[in-house]
Amino acid sequence: MITLKLNGESRTFPAVLSAADLIEQLGYTGKRIALERNGEIVPRSNYANVLLAEGDQLEVVVAVGGG
């Protein structure tokens, strides 16, 4: 198991986890989101190639109403 910091909260996931796996487990596959890993953008096209590691800090963001 690995522990990730996801949007500021600790969450535990199975050990071998790609960004694509994470997005799928969160129910966001095909949704308009953006992913940041340890301060760097993970391009959507690269989700399958990025393996997440213990302690990674992840931000998943969406568009909301704002002025």
């Binding site: 996801l6 949007n7 500021g8 909260e9 969450r11 969160l26 129910g27 966001y28 949704k31 308009r32 989101i33 953006a34 992913l35 940041e36 301060g39 953008i41 391009p43 959507r44 931000e59 998943v60 963001v61 969406v62 568009a63 909301v64 109403g65 704002g66 002025g67």
Partner: protein
């Protein structure tokens, strides 16, 4: 009449830019924004609610990027770093879209811009290829610096965000317009239609507002009023107003041929 608003080489028919926050629900959001006629609409970037309703409708489903020019903002950012990070995420979210609204705030009570952090963020963003429309104070020197950095529109406040206090310092807006050649768009402080008309009569290229519409008793009707006010103000600016005089001794009706009881 060919009177387009041109920002970063793209032309727009509407000079009213609107925010998408503070509406009762998505239906009201959609109706108000459609009624406003705005083509450029601001959005915010926020953490998703992990684990909560991933299938609920999203803002971008009711306001699709195919129909509107989305302008992601950095509302809530107090440092250049946070603002830059937010807009990098926005660019990824919107498939490489580079037109953004930069705002870096100074304190949570006034929401007054922190121009030092704003300038730092603008430099980084322009270097990274963003087209930056920048919210700032009504300081003409700062406005000019932001243009020199490469911002594509300067967006001074008319009064504080969400205050609805209207155009408090038209003279500073004039000073900015005299010095800056990119579009100057009043952002923040408009309260009602006459405020928007005044901004446009001053010669501003456009007006950006959110609370003035969303916070009205009837937002959709206010959206209509704002559309009309921006158009009316723009036409008045282009028409060129008559000079102000305390009195004129020049009546509108002919002075010759007046019937009179005076006998020569």
């Amino acid at each position: 009449m060919n009177d387009k608003l041109i920002i970063a080489g793209k032309s727009y028919d509407s000079r009213l830019l609107v925010g998408t926050g503070k509406y009762k629900d998505f239906t009201e959001t959609k109706n108000a924004i459609e009624t406003s006629g705005a083509e450029i609409i601001t959005i915010a970037i926020r953490r998703s609610n992990i684990g909560q309703h991933p299938n609920e409708p999203s803002l971008l489903e009711i306001l699709p990027p195919s129909k509107y020019t989305l302008l992601p903002n950095t509302a809530g950012c107090y440092t250049a770093d946070d603002a830059v990070r937010t807009l990098r995420l926005a660019r990824e979210l919107l498939d490489g879209h580079s037109l953004v609204k930069l705002e870096v705030l100074g304190d949570p009570q006034s929401l007054y811009p922190n121009v030092i952090e704003t300038i730092a963020a603008a430099k980084t963003l322009v270097a990274e290829g963003f087209q930056v429309m920048v919210y700032t104070s009504d300081d003409p020197i700062i406005a000019k610096q932001l243009e020199d950095i490469g911002c594509v529109a300067i967006m001074p406040l008319a009064s504080l965000i969400g205050s609805g206090m209207g155009i408090l310092n038209p003279w500073n807006l004039q000073l900015i317009m005299d010095r800056v050649s990119v579009p100057v768009i009043v952002d923040a402080g408009v309260g009602t239609a006459s405020d928007a008309a005044i901004a446009m009569e001053l010669g501003c290229a456009g007006v950006l507002m959110n609370t003035a519409i969303a916070g009205a008793q009837q937002p959709v009707l206010m959206a209509k009023a704002m559309k009309q006010a921006v158009e009316a103000g723009r036409s008045a600016y282009l028409a060129g107003r008559m000079p102000k005089k305390l009195y004129s001794a020049s009546p509108s009706s002919p002075t010759a041929g007046i019937i009179t009881s005076t006998r020569a």
